[in-house]
């Protein structure tokens, strides 16, 4: 093993049923280095980390850890911890109702001769640990007394005290404010100087450039490359994550640019916001217009749409639908105004797994009609059959449970659910994620067709080409706020620059 290297992963391969989650991925972590692991959703970041910490079993490849001869295979996180690999997650995995000291020593409490817990030593040691990390807090207080950031740092302190060589921080900053993030970074730099190798997983580009030394980029389960931070400016990082090289950017543009400035306004949002997910934004959508929301994952693109739809109730601002101001308290209000939302998390918020394809299709329409106006069975069958036919849903029968369908077909069923309500305004959040190319094209065609019928749409996708093909306007989001709109020169380069934002030198 190279000197200074604390962890190497070579040729890690792992498949989930039907997908290659990791394909021959290499990863190297050096002592005293903060190493960002970057990639879009589904790129394989978490899978790689889970392979390292023993949550997932990988099929091929080797892991070597400094100081341990031979390949390392972890079977559980506890196993990994024993070998010096600790993980701190976004959600603090400690017990809020125990004291800081107890949390630091849980499972390895110092014992007295009688076998009882030696509280004095525990508190003393805890004080030492915390002060070593420059955190002078009362360790006898319950963990819940401290801010989330401090709790996170305590979790890190625990990991460090367990003699970790490799510290994995999985989205640790998602729930922290700027000040807290800065504190966390201070701690990370301190650990770095102590020789700990840190793997930092985050969606926030700014933070990567603020604290990291090196970046490894994954895409679709494959290694794109490992770069020193100086060699990978922001725009190039975005390009690497999304799989586009600037050199061979082929601009795909729809044949005609439509001008919507004179069309009727369907949706007019002013200052809408939902605390913690999306900062106040304005957005106007005309009839027959397809608006794309773009930005990296976690930038607030889904959240913006959810605030309009009432999935996350907007707390400020006003929303006009067809020129009339409306108050949306719950999704059903939005539906009654002619809206529909295809959520990005199909499994958690889309499908009703144990219900049949037919029931899943008619659900939203039935909800709109109300409980006492049950759609007659003949009508239900007619609707279900119609959309199974139109959208070419591959299912054994209309009574098959939706959970037995493939992802793409499930998505079509949810799409059918909304089409059945004949919406005027449809929000499609990652409608093409995880589905095959053929279906993707069909869905894109459908979007264009719906717009042609005078319906308005919001289209959210991680694939820029897809949006370029379908959208006439794009709103750009970054870090939970809408930062701009692109109406002219809709090219990949422009969009990516806008996404990367800030110092796009």
């Amino acid at each position: 093993m190279e000197k200074n290297v604390v962890l190497t992963m070579r040729g890690i391969t792992m498949t989930f049923p039907g997908v290659k989650a990791l394909d021959n991925v290499d990863f190297t972590l050096r002592k005293g280095e903060i190493h960002a692991l970057m990639g879009e959703n589904g790129a394989g970041k978490s899978t790689l980390i889970k392979c390292l910490t023993g949550i997932n079993a990988f099929e091929a490849g080797e892991i070597h850890v400094d100081g341990i001869s031979g390949a390392v295979v972890n079977h559980s996180t506890l196993d990994a911890q024993k070998k010096g690999i600790s993980t701190v997650y976004q959600e603090v995995n400690l017990c809020p109702n125990l004291s800081v000291a107890e949390n630091l020593f849980i499972g390895r409490e110092p014992k007295t001769k009688l076998g009882t817990i030696d509280w004095k030593t525990m508190v003393k040691k805890s004080r030492k640990i915390m002060s070593d990390l420059d955190m002078n807090i009362d360790v006898t207080q319950n963990l819940e007394e401290y801010s989330l950031a401090l709790q996170q740092m305590i979790a890190i302190a625990r990991a460090v005290d367990m003699e970790c060589k490799v510290l994995i921080l999985d989205e640790p900053t998602s729930s922290l404010d700027d000040n807290e993030v800065e504190k966390l970074f201070g701690l990370m730099r301190r650990l770095k100087s102590q020789g700990v190798g840190i793997i930092f997983v985050t969606h926030f580009l700014e933070q990567v450039y603020a604290v990291c030394d090196r970046i490894t980029v994954l895409r679709n389960g494959q290694l794109v490359g490992e770069y020193p931070i100086e060699e990978l400016p922001r725009v190039k990082l975005v390009a690497a994550m999304m799989g586009k090289d600037f050199d061979d950017l082929a601009a795909i543009k729809s044949d005609e640019t439509k001008d919507f400035t004179h069309a009727d306004v369907m949706i007019e949002a002013k200052g809408l916001s939902h605390k913690g997910t999306i900062k106040p934004f304005d957005l106007t959508i005309h009839k027959g217009e397809v608006v794309g929301l773009t930005g990296l994952l976690g930038s607030g693109r889904s959240e913006l749409a959810r605030a309009i739809y009432g999935a996350d109730k907007a707390q400020t601002g006003t929303l006009k639908v067809n020129g009339k101001e409306e108050k949306i308290n719950a999704p059903i209000d939005a539906m009654n105004l002619g809206m529909g939302l295809l959520p990005d998390d199909r499994k958690a918020e889309g499908i009703i797994g144990d219900l049949s394809v037919r029931e899943n299709i008619i659900l939203a329409l039935q909800a709109k009609r109300g409980i006492f106006k049950l759609l007659p069975m003949s009508k239900q069958i007619e609707i279900a059959d119609k959309y199974i036919e139109i959208l070419q849903i591959k299912t054994a029968s209309r009574e098959t449970l939706i959970k037995q369908l493939s992802g793409g077909n499930q998505q079509k069923v949810i799409l059918a659910r909304w089409l059945a309500t004949d919406p005027d305004f449809l929000i499609l959040d990652e409608p093409t994620r995880g589905i095959d190319v053929g279906t993707k094209t069909e869905i894109q065609k459908l979007v264009v067709q719906l717009a042609g019928e005078g319906k308005s749409l919001i289209f959210i996708s991680s694939e820029i080409e897809e949006m370029l093909r379908t959208c006439s306007k794009m709103a750009v989001l970054r870090d939970g706020a809408k930062v701009g709109e692109i109406t002219e020169d809709l090219t990949q380069e422009n969009v990516m620059k806008a996404i990367a934002g800030g110092a796009s030198k």
């Binding site: 999935a311 958690a348 009703i352 144990d354 219900l355």
Partner: protein, 355 residues
């Protein structure tokens, strides 16, 4: 083999299987005792009313069947159970009898208020309790078990309070009707049948069944699709309370009194068991009302059988416990996986792998 598989995969297979098993035990026991083999199924008319073990099962099982209707909806929508129904039964009975007899009167044959008013008030009391549970679960997001624990412990005591700590006897024939006979059929059977029929019609003719299952399977997705998940869960608890109220009236009428210490005692467990026996997952989601009803009467059949076979009332719960254990084990994922694995092995052995 294939047909067997098809049969066993049917939703109602387990409940019907249990029911048949109990009937088999009856036949065997009767043969062993030297009786007519099918005496369990014999129905005769004595003193102008239906008589027989089967009638007895249907009659005595009415309260649990009525409770189980509400329990099914609660379990389906909220993946939790309402353990207060037994206590609420006794509260409803106490409230009804208190109104009929007047406060502080321990025995009466003259009704102080019209019978219908007392009965409806008792049922309404059940509904109020249900709404309270529903508010805690749907409105405040309290765990169903904890939320209903409140009335589980309090309702019975409130009932006693309403009756001034007395056992109120209503010695009035019109009141005894609900636990007596309606023509030649025991009234509880009729009441249970009406409750089942009304619920079945509601589930069939409105979207209630779809809504409840949808919410029970995926609350978040249901909300996005326009359902008001909290409202539906609340409604289920309210219905469950009304069912408890009805069962309470029947139970009180049977013994012509509001005996707070006996009415509905540990009925909640039977109601939950009926839901489970009916092949419904206690984890919520899909449900079968028919299964629940079969389950409810199976429980009564077990009890009746045990008594007929000569097991003492004191020991009967032991047998019941064994049956619950078996059912829970059959539903457990490791067991299912084991069965699946075995059938796969068998298919492999037959050369099914060549496919």
């Amino acid at each position: 083999m294939n047909n067997v598989k098809k049969l066993t995969s049917k939703r109602l297979f387990l409940p019907i299987f249990c029911m048949l098993l109990v009937m088999m035990v009856n036949i065997i026991a009767d043969i062993a005792a030297g009786n007519f083999a099918f005496s369990f199924f014999t129905i005769s008319i004595r003193n102008g009313v239906l008589y027989g073990r089967l009638i007895d099962v249907l009659n005595r099982g009415s309260e649990v069947a009525i409770l189980a209707i509400g329990m099914t909806l609660v379990v389906s929508a909220s993946a939790g159970t309402d353990i207060s129904v037994g206590s609420v039964m006794s509260l409803s009975a106490a409230f009804c009898c208190m109104l009929l007899a007047g406060y502080g009167v321990s025995s009466t044959s003259d009704l102080q208020v019209p019978l219908l008013v007392g009965v409806l008030a008792g049922i309404l009391m059940g509904g109020v309790c249900g709404c309270f549970n529903g508010f805690l679960v749907a409105g405040l997001n309290v765990q169903p078990m904890v939320a209903t624990l409140i009335l589980y412990s309090a309702a019975r005591a409130i009932g006693l309070l309403l009756c001034n700590n007395l056992i109120v006897y209503i010695r009035n024939e019109s009141f005894q009707f609900f636990g007596g006979y309606c023509g030649f059929i025991p009234t509880p059977i009729v009441i249970a049948a009406v409750c089942v029929a009304v619920t079945a019609v509601l589930l069939r003719k409105t979207a209630l069944g779809l809504y409840i299952q949808s919410v029970g399977i995926n609350k978040k997705a249901s909300r996005i699709a326009g359902l008001n998940s909290s409202k539906i869960i609340f409604l289920c608890y309210a219905v469950c309370g009304i069912c408890a109220g009805i069962a309470g009236i029947v139970a009180a009428s049977r013994i012509s009194s509001a005996d707070s210490n006996n009415i509905g005692m540990s009925y909640e467990m039977d109601a939950i068991l009926a839901v489970a026996l009916g092949g419904n997952s206690l984890g919520g989601g899909k449900f079968s009302l028919a299964g629940t009803i079969i389950g409810a009467y199976t429980i009564q059949a077990i009890t009746t059988t045990l008594l007929a076979v000569g097991v003492s009332t004191a020991q009967a719960p032991v047998f019941k416990a064994v049956i619950v254990l078996i059912i829970v084990a059959i539903q457990a994922p490791p067991f299912k996986a084991f069965v699946k694995q075995r059938s796969v092995k068998r298919t492999l052995a037959k050369g099914g792998a060549a496919r």
